[in-house]
């Protein structure tokens, strides 16, 4: 007799060919779970090729989701259940399944030919390699066809309903309510009644079939999570980024302009912003990365909140233009949704290896502000902050996101934007109030060193700006040695002054202890969960997670002083760790991984435990 087990959290991974609809299936499961009151986190993992050869490991597309009755920060280390639509999906994902976990597999796809195509030398269902796992073998293709036999639809279209059949099964195993997904199907296929009926029928048939397995398979219940009251929605990082910019433009009362060239994994920001013309958003799909940033610079000079979005390879191409924006002292936000590098690298995989590029990747002494988003729903806040800092300090700002944050989806408590994101005070002049005789375009606020923003159309403020060095007083071209020194110092100081305009660094845990973890960007979820787990065990470990990278909050140095040891986990070969050591000489150690995947909580726990032991033995 099967059991109903109450569990705190569950990780499911849906996996199949890239055309099997795995992203859709996973999204439906996570939406339903969020609406049912669970906290969730998701991670889509799809191949760079749009349709890699069917049935091969290269073509496997996965979607992992983690839902629970407690706070969920990551999509989970290992899956409790793997849904494998074909042998290749099984081959790729088995290593990420918990020992003793459940495999729901599509038996119809385990033909000799497909098993061989996946690269197996023998049939994994027969050679004993799945011993110890709980197998649910279901001929999904044929059972879907059988369930849809009375529907007037071609065989191919019917076959494509198999993902909903499997989804129906998982809904039964995890006691999910089907209404949300059935409603979604209803809306999606409202003009194709046969497809609507087929997909709904397949889903219900899957759930009904799962019920017949009840005697042999356990089902699980995950209660509602304790979540801060409020109205919630799901949001992924790229959408959240796009919306942050729309809000920032409103708060600054400026039009929004995006100049961009499509690149994975940043393109969705372009797609998203191109929808919102009713918000006066202009999106310009440029002929190349350079034109992407150059059109944005042009729009910024003309009085728009100007944005360009890209990923690492595109950043490399934008370098000279970023320098120009620094030299112009013009507002601009550059988003780098990082992916694995170098070169084309791993386009669809996550990494945070472009920190050095953001800090140093230009000719000359060319300082700018850098901020980084910590999780999908933080992208909204950091996009707003990047815009605010660009407009208030007349400088380019780099916002670092990454593939994991950009594509990850999580619930978001909808903020009260009318109080929290209401006003950005940019530097645009009112020409009526300017003493035009004594004004030059380079007139600065003596305290912040921020220059005035005068734009074409303002009578009497016509001026010329170039990338050549400028005289500190007049803004005219100057090759004077002492002036160049002064201008370099001014640009540097101006950016450093932004430290007075960002929040102090928060620390999670005690303000002193054995080990301080310093992380940044998209690793927040796993780092936070690992630190918290060790804190629960009584370890003297605390976390500072940096979102303001350059300049850093003014108290970071003071926070570091009260710990015996500092460790910096990063998804690169060690970049922030060197920045921290150069700035604070704290002899921080590094924990690095560059596998194109996020950190697992377990590996961080282990790394931090080892560092704690060293700190305690010192």
């Amino acid at each position: 007799m099967a059991t109903l087990t109450e569990v705190e959290s569950v990780v499911i991974r849906f996996s199949g060919d890239s055309g099997d609809g795995m992203q859709l299936t996973g999204t439906q499961f996570s939406n339903t779970s969020a609406i049912m009151g669970n906290d969730i986190a998701t991670f889509p993992d799809y191949p760079a090729e749009i349709r890699a050869p069917q049935g091969t490991v290269a073509g496997v597309s996965g979607f992992q989701l983690h839902f629970g009755s407690r706070e969920i920060f990551t999509p989970g280390d290992e899956a409790d259940m793997l849904v494998a639509f074909n042998p290749a999906a099984l081959k790729v994902n088995l290593k990420d399944l918990k020992k003793g976990g459940t495999i729901l597999l599509n038996l119809d796809a385990f033909t000799d030919k497909k098993i061989e195509k996946a690269g197996y030398e023998s049939n994994p269902l027969e050679d004993g390699q799945l011993d110890g796992y709980q197998l649910i073998e279901v001929p999904v293709d044929s059972q879907t066809a059988e369930a849809l036999k009375d529907i007037d639809l071609d065989t191919k279209s019917k076959k494509r309903c198999k993902n909903f059949y499997a989804l129906g099964m998982t809904y039964f195993f995890y006691h999910r309510e089907m209404e949300t997904t059935l409603d979604w199907i209803e809306k999606k296929f409202s003009d194709k009644p046969e497809l609507l009926k087929a997909n709904q029928t397949a889903m219900k048939a899957g759930a009904n079939f799962a019920e017949t397995l009840e005697t042999i398979v356990s089902t699980y219940k995950v209660s509602k999570a304790k979540i801060e009251p409020g109205v919630y929605r799901q949001i992924n990082g790229n959408t959240s980024t796009a919306w942050g910019f729309i809000r920032a433009a409103q708060a600054a009362n400026l039009p929004l302009f995006l100049g961009s060239y499509p690149i994975t994994p940043a393109s969705d920001i372009l797609h998203e912003l191109s929808k919102y013309k009713e918000f006066d958003v202009k999106t310009f799909q440029a002929e190349d990365e350079i034109a992407g940033i150059c059109t944005a610079i042009g729009a910024g000079l003309t009085g728009s909140l100007a944005i360009t979005t890209t990923s690492g390879p595109g950043m490399a191409l934008k370098g000279e233009a970023i320098g120009l924006a620094i030299s112009y002292e013009t507002p601009l936000v550059i988003v780098n949704v990082q992916r694995g590098g170098p070169s084309t690298g791993l386009p669809t995989k996550t990494e945070q290896s472009d920190l050095y590029q953001a800090l140093y990747g230009r000719n000359g002494d060319s300082p700018l502000i850098i901020v980084a988003a910590s999780r999908p729903n933080d992208c909204f806040h950091m996009a707003y902050e990047a815009s605010r800092l660009a407009l208030e300090h007349m400088t380019p700002v780099i916002l670092l996101s990454d593939g994991y944050v950009a594509n990850g989806t999580e619930p978001w408590k909808i903020p009260d934007v009318d109080t929290l994101y209401a006003s950005i005070k940019h530097k645009m002049l009112d020409p009526e109030t300017v003493d035009k005789e004594n004004w030059s375009w380079i007139t600065r606020d003596p305290k912040t060193l921020v220059r005035d923003w005068a734009i074409p159309g303002m009578e009497g403020l016509e001026h010329r700006i170039g990338g050549l060095e400028k005289d500190f007083d007049t803004g005219n071209i100057s090759y004077d040695p002492a002036n160049h020194q002064k201008m370099c110092e001014t640009r540097q100081k101006k950016v450093e002054n932004a430290a007075n305009n960002i929040p102090l660094q928060e620390i999670e845990g005690d303000e002193s202890g054995d080990l301080l973890v310093i992380s940044w960007g998209g690793t927040y979820g796993s780092v936070e969960m690992a630190v918290r787990a060790l804190q629960k065990e009584g370890q003297k470990i605390s976390l500072i997670h940096l979102r303001y990278i350059h300049p850093m909050p003014k108290n970071v140095g003071d926070l570091i002083k009260n710990f015996k040891k500092v460790i910096v986990p990063e998804l690169n070969m060690g970049q922030m760790v060197h920045v921290i050591n150069a700035k604070f000489a704290c002899n921080a150690t590094a924990y690095n991984k560059v596998e194109g995947l996020p950190f697992k909580i377990s590996e961080l726990k282990e790394a931090f435990s080892n560092a704690l032991k060293e700190a305690q033995n010192d």
């Binding site: 440029a286 059109t295 042009g298 010329r464 170039g466």
Partner: protein
Amino acid sequence: MTKENNSHYTKKDFVSDQEVKWCPGCGDYAILSAIQSAMAQLGRKREDVVCVSGIGCSSRFPYYLNTYGYHTIHGRAAAIASGVKTANPDLSVWVMTGDGDSLSIGGNHFIHVLRRNMDMNIVLFNNQVYGLTKGQYSPTSVRGQVTKSTPYGSLDRPFSPAKLAFGASATFIARTTDTNAKQIEAIMLEAEEHRGTSFIEVYQNCVIFNDGCHSDYAEKKSRDDHSIILEQGKPMIFGGEVKKGLILDKLTLKVVELGDAYSEADCLIHDKTNEMLASLLVAMDANASMPKLYGVIFAVDDVIYNDQVTAQIAEVKAKKGDGDFNKLLHSGDTWEIKA
């Protein structure tokens, strides 16, 4: 487009306070002076004029023009100007560029701004050499040109800027020379009048690195025999002592002497709106024995990128109303967690 009566402007209003630093004798001086004169007659307020340049001798231009001016980076003027114009379509945008700036390092932006038909004017100073980097060959240098980087002669085939622009779907193609200030002025005014991208090639002499490169068809003493000034609806005739004309022989343009065999009536009549004719005219550059063409070679109306951006926003707003951010935040599936 806001047009103001600006009869109070004179050329002086467009002269900036910066000392002009081109080499003595440079063709750029004549172009600057003619464009400053044209600016005073544009019918645009000075503060609504934006001049954008890349890198190179010609790209110093914005510093000397008393309007809003942006000296940018090599090759990118057209891209930055595209951002300026898209963000604020009410501005009169001028790109000042050279053969190196627009045709090699900035080639991509050059063709795409023309393809989009962004409403702006692009003035390309063609001196067939790199001046600011001190004398290497450029993408318009003639094959065999001896320069610092080609001591045995260049091997590259040159671009014809007009033909390239035509291939990139330009809607306005004109040509003039630094030896004819009056013509520069007139063409600039016609370019500003044209809606869409106006491309103007200006033959410009580099006294230091490529002196005399255009003299046959640009210098007063020889140009009548080596160039045709195109006028809409007029026959294509030219020549000093001996009058010559351009005729169409099957599908080939030919120069003939006017007299017993041919008369003015046999010559081609210029029609700047005729695309087939334009395709033949821009191809003439490839043949060194053919006369050079001055004036407006091609001018047609077509959809303009920045107009469409404005129209699309208006259309969406008419349908959806102004954006409501709180409505956006609450769109799709939401759920409430109660205290």
